[in-house]
């Protein structure tokens, strides 16, 4: 497993995961810079992602939806806030209507992805921050069935590994 460290900070509502990939930083960057590669990795097999718009520049938007087993669609967006190609980027990840209008009632998480050369490969650090427990609950009210199903399906993989 490439994951080497996980930190949950319940007070700061922060999740940090560090993973090592056996490829140069430029290759890992490509996964995010290429919408066709991004959609291969963003959604699990049960909720595949379709990236509709992809502008990985500061101020740019990435719009995507995920399609559930019942054909149900769930839209989300990234608002790209900083880019340092190929070393990382930062974005807000939020819920949207199916026309990709961000839902202003739902808080977006702040995410910072960092890629550094390490031992001939890439060390990727994924950081996600939620604004408050109350807002986190709001997010979950909206996405609880989807979120729980996603997680539950991926527990299968976790237990199999």
């Amino acid at each position: 497993m490439p994951v080497i460290d996980v930190k949950h900070d319940l007070d700061a509502l922060t999740l940090t995961i560090v993973a090592d990939f056996a490829a140069p930083v430029e290759r890992v960057w490509q996964v995010y810079a290429d919408p066709r590669q991004l959609e291969k990795v963003w959604g699990p097999p049960t909720y595949p992602a379709t990236v509709v718009d992809h502008d990985l520049r500061p101020g740019g938007r990435v719009n995507y939806f995920m399609t559930g087993p019942e054909g149900d669609k769930h839209a989300g967006y990234w608002l790209v806030t900083a880019v340092d190609e190929p070393d990382g980027f930062a974005f807000e990840d939020g819920f949207a209507d199916l026309d990709f209008t961000p839902n202003p009632d739902l808080p977006a998480s702040r995410n910072v992805y960092t890629f550094t050369a390490h031992d001939g490969g890439t060390r990727a650090t994924y950081l996600g921050v939620y604004p408050s427990a109350e807002q986190l609950q709001q997010v979950l009210d909206m996405g609880v069935v989807e979120g729980a199903s996603l997680a539950i399906n991926q527990i299968d993989d976790l237990l199999a590994s």
């Binding site: 497993m1 993973a19 291969k40 990795v41 986190l136 729980a148 996603l150 997680a151 991926q154 527990i155």
Partner: protein
């Protein structure tokens, strides 16, 4: 992560470390079901399904309510959305993405030297 939150995460994963219980959670998060209606969905005894429901109830993932002769089961959205379980869920989502990136990179053709 504090020990208490680790314990909660343990209970959460244990309860969900079973295919039938995960399937029950999907159903009861989407809407209230009676235990007998749930039992009818599985090729196992009523008592066996009732036992799975009890494990999920003990982990705080669902609640049971008696209505006449029926026991009605609902997914406990508050429990599923607790901060600890949310971060545990997110971790699984992210681990899934990382595993898929790893697979994608591994499928690249070998560079020629």
């Amino acid at each position: 992560m504090t020990e208490q939150s680790e314990d909660r995460a343990d209970a959460f994963f244990h309860a969900l470390a079973d295919r039938t219980r995960r399937d029950i959670m999907r159903r009861v998060l989407a809407g209230q079901h009676s235990v007998s209606a749930l039992a009818a969905k599985y090729d196992m005894s009523f008592a066996a399904v009732q036992k799975h429901v009890a494990v999920l109830e003990k982990a705080g993932l669902l609640t049971k309510l008696r209505s006449g002769r029926e026991q009605l089961v609902s997914g406990d959205v508050a429990a599923v959305r607790s901060v600890a379980s949310l971060l545990a869920e997110l971790e699984q989502v992210w681990r899934g993405r990382i595993a898929r990136i790893d697979d994608l990179i591994a499928s690249d053709p070998e560079p020629e030297d």
